[in-house]
Every structure is written in C-alpha cells, then in structure tokens.
C-alpha cells in the first residue's frame, strides 16, 4: 500500500515536472520556415538561424520537408516563408500569387553517386550520358520519388537525356535524401543527391561521386515570403525580414563560410541568380 502511494506520487510529480519543464516561454515574434531536407539535414540552418534570431529577435520554427510539401505549406498559409530549390515551381508559385517574390540565396550542386566498381561505366560522363548508360545497363537507380526538389531535378535530367525507358532497375524509395542515400549504399545502387547531404553522410556510405560539374547539375535555392494577400494570417513582416536577412551581406558571408567535414557546401549568390549568368 505504501509503495503504491509512493509511486502514484512519483507519477504525479513527473507529470507536473514535464508540464513545467517542457514548456519554453512563447516567443514574442516567430515565423514558420518551410524548407527542404537538404538545408536542414546538412546542418546549415542550425548554424545560420541563431544569428538571425539574435539580430532581429524573431524566432524561426523550421519545418523540414520535401520542396513539394514546402510549397504546399506555403499555398495553404501554414508557413510564412520558404527556402526551397525547384526554380520552375517557385516561379509558378509567385506568378500564381502565393509568394511575394523569389529571391535567389545560394546554390550547391547535385552529384550522381554509385558503387565505385561502376558497373554502368558512367564515371566522368555528362549527366545525360550517365543516365542513359544506367538505363541501358538496367542498373539499379534509386529515385526519391517524393516530389521533392531533388526528385523534380532528377525527372528533368531524365527528360533532358531523352531516356524513355528507365530500365528495370529504376526504383522509387519515397523517402528523404538521407534515407535514400542509405538505401542506395545498402543496395549498391546509383542515385542523385545534393552534394551537401552526401558530404555530411559519406562516412556511412559505400558510394562514390561518379558524375559532377555538369551545369545541368547546379542546384539553386531561393527564399520566398508567402503572400499575405492570399493568406492574411501569415507573419509577412517576419517573413520579409527573413528574406532581407538571408540575402543580405552577413548571412551571405556566413553561408560561404559554412564547412562540413572540411568541405564548403553552399555558395552564396550575392544577389544574383544562376539564370542571370546563363
């Protein structure tokens, strides 16, 4: 009987401790940033955002999802600002009136990875050649298949390579970049990844970069504030402050200085867009 009372008391104490301990004070000002797994999983935002919060007092709540879902969160007004990488969709998002304007922030690049024996022989080819070799040799290729920016880029590359039949080895993982890479590593398959996520995980992966440097493989990121005209509930003042900040000199310098495992992962665009330089 005694031990019962004791344990009940302990449970009640635990519950109340959780009630007080877990509740951080509500932030005075905060924005919801919907972004892609690549910016978040690479650790860039954890490194970058404290500086923004310190300068502006605005707290950033990061939702890290695929670009498709991030854009949908923006359309519904559940996010205040987006940091995504799918230029064609971003432009449509702005033209359709969901976003205020598209601001180029930075870029990194995609790489085609595969097992180092390279059975399809794609090493040092162009992206288009690589994909057609993979398809022709029926090698296993793992697609994200999740409507993310990386997935959209991959589909664009297949179209660009003029490959109709992707081969029997083409499979869709339906997961984020990290899990797709792990799957590709385990299956010793080819896949497309952004360089940042690959670099941050490469110690755990038995995969090598086989194709890189093709201009088609460049991966630009843009920030878009969600349009308050369509979604009056959004914190557009906070969103605009974020867009201003991340395209500004301080953040651009920080982005350029970010290193993971000794490698620079993102290149700041300093107000330019990749399309301008084309």
């Amino acid at each position: 009987m005694n031990s019962r009372t004791l344990i009940l008391a302990a449970l009640i104490t635990l519950f109340s401790a959780c009630l007080t301990g877990s509740q951080s004070p509500p932030p005075a000002d905060s924005i919801v940033l919907a972004t892609t797994t690549s910016t978040y999983d690479s650790g860039l935002l954890d490194y970058l955002l404290p500086a923004f919060t310190e300068q502006t007092g605005i707290e950033v709540r990061v939702i890290s999802v695929g670009t498709g879902q991030a854009l949908e969160l923006g359309r519904r007004g559940d996010a205040d600002v987006l940091l995504v990488h799918s230029p064609a969709d971003e432009k449509r998002f702005v033209t359709d009136g969901f976003g205020v304007a598209r601001h180029c922030v930075m870029y990194n690049d995609f790489v085609i990875l595969g097992p180092s024996p390279d059975p399809a022989g794609i090493s040092n080819t162009t992206a288009a050649e690589a994909l057609s070799f993979i398809a022709k040799s029926d090698s296993t290729f793992i697609s994200r298949g999740d409507d993310s920016g990386t997935h959209k880029k991959e589909l664009l590359l297949w179209t660009n390579a003029g490959v109709e039949d992707k081969g029997v080895g083409y499979i869709e993982s339906g997961t984020g970049m990290g899990l797709t890479l792990l799957t590709a590593g385990e299956k010793q398959a080819y896949t497309l990844s952004d360089r940042a996520t690959f670099v941050s995980m490469k110690d755990r992966l038995d995969l090598a970069i086989l194709v890189s440097g093709d201009t088609l493989l460049l991966n630009p990121y843009a920030a878009i504030a969600v349009n308050p005209v369509k979604n009056p509930g959004v914190n557009s003042r906070g969103a605009e402050a974020f867009v201003q900040w991340i395209t500004g000199a301080d953040a651009q310098r920080l982005i350029g200085e970010y290193r993971k495992k000794g490698e620079r992962l993102f290149t700041p665009l300093q107000g330019r867009c990749l399309e301008d330089s084309d």
């Binding site: 301990g21 919801v32 559940d78 995980m201 509930g233």
Partner: protein, 231 residues
C-alpha cells in the same frame, strides 16, 4: 561504415553526457503523451463502462467500430488533423498547428479507442457472480458502478498503459501535425526519424534507448502498484 555495436556504444556514451536537448525532448515527449492519454482516459473509461452497462440498439456496431479504431493508422489521424487545423482548414483560426497541444490531441484520438476497448473487455471480464453479489448486497445503482469500477481497477490500469504505450511510441501523426520543430515540437520518436535520415545513428539509438527505458519504468511502476494491491 558503422556497425550496430559501435552505434550502441556511441549511443550509451551520448546518454551519459545528459545533453540538455535530449532532456528537453524527453520531457516534451512525456508531457505530450501524458496530456493526451490523461484526457483520453478521463473520457474513455466512463464511456466504456457506460457502454458495458447499457443495452441499446446498434451496440454491436459501436463495439465493432471501437475495435476497428483500435487499429487506426496514426498517419491518417495526422493527415486528418493537419487538414482540419491548417490555416485553410475549418479550425485553422485556432493556431494550434505545429504546437505540442495538437500532438497531444493526435495521441488522444489514437489512445481513446484503445483505452475504451481494453476497459470494455475488463468490464466484461468482471465475473458475473461478482456482479450478482454486488447486486445482492442491496446496493443502489451508483454504489454498484463504483464497486464494479473497483473490481476492474487493474483492467483500467492495463487499458491506460496500453494507450500510453501506443501514444508514446507513435510517430506518424505527431510528425505531420507537430512538424518536428527543434526545441518546440520535437519528440523522441520524431527526433529518431530525423537523426536516422541524417545518418546520425548513435543519436537515434540513444533516443531509442531513452524511449525504451521510460516505457520500462512506467510498466514496472504499474506492476508494483498491481502487486501491492494483491497483498
């Protein structure tokens, strides 16, 4: 390449650093699950007893529905709540999306049918002669209910445990409605998903060990309560 053993060793080391983020994630997980299951129990237990006592048309259907909802896929609950509480949704104005409270609500929905179902079978499990005895004591209906509830106290405890266990280890719903926001809506389970996708297996396993240990402690405490009662 890291092996399972290396990851495990790394995880245990990490646990003993008592990282403040790990601690707050753990506390938040407990808060969300206890909140959700507390209210689920508060409503589900009386509901189950009422269901057990009363005879009405369509009772079979209700019981079948409850049993079906015991296997409700959490991700569906998550999607449903997301659409409801999204700014475009019917309850968008509440601003509850991406908060701990909506995660508790998701767990409430998941735990409610489980607690109802298990409590109901506990009620049916109270032997008929015990009920007859209670009736023969000349009790009024109110006293009868209380005595029956007392008889099924361990069954109710088991029901609450089952609900808590499911809520605590659930990830599909809370990651959708909570958004897995660092320092705000990141729970043990959603953090495990994130760390796995980042390839940080040590951290993922460390979080898994915390989850398991807590489940063990809660179960153990309740076993002690039960045995204490049998003395």
């Amino acid at each position: 390449m890291t092996t399972l053993v290396e990851s495990l060793v790394g995880a245990v080391k990490l646990l003993f650093t008592f990282d403040s983020e790990l601690v707050s994630i753990t506390l938040l997980s407990l808060y969300v699950s206890l909140l959700g299951v507390f209210f689920a129990g508060l409503l589900a237990v009386p509901f189950a007893v009422l269901l057990g006592t009363k005879k009405f048309r369509g009772k079979k259907l209700v019981v079948n529905l409850i049993n079906t909802f015991m296997g409700l896929p959490p991700v569906i609950v998550g999607l449903f709540l997301f659409l409801l509480f999204s700014r475009q949704g019917a309850l968008g104005g509440t601003g509850l999306l991406f908060t701990p409270e909506i995660m508790a609500l998701a767990q409430f929905i998941i735990a409610f049918p489980i607690i109802t179902g298990v409590t109901l079978s506990a009620y049916e499990g109270v032997e008929k002669d015990v009920i007859d005895l209670i009736v023969s004591l000349g009790t009024n209906p109110r006293q009868r209910t209380w005595l029956t509830l007392f008889e099924m106290r361990y069954g109710i405890l088991t029901a609450l445990m089952a609900g808590l266990g499911r809520a605590f280890s659930e990830v599909g719903a809370v990651i959708i409605v909570g958004g897995n926001i660092r320092h705000q809506t990141r729970l043990l389970t959603t953090a495990i998903v994130l760390e796995t996708s980042r390839g940080e297996f040590e951290t993922a396993i460390a979080l898994g060990l915390i989850l398991l240990s807590l489940a063990f402690i809660i179960n153990y405490a309740l076993t002690v309560v039960r045995e204490g009662g049998r003395e």
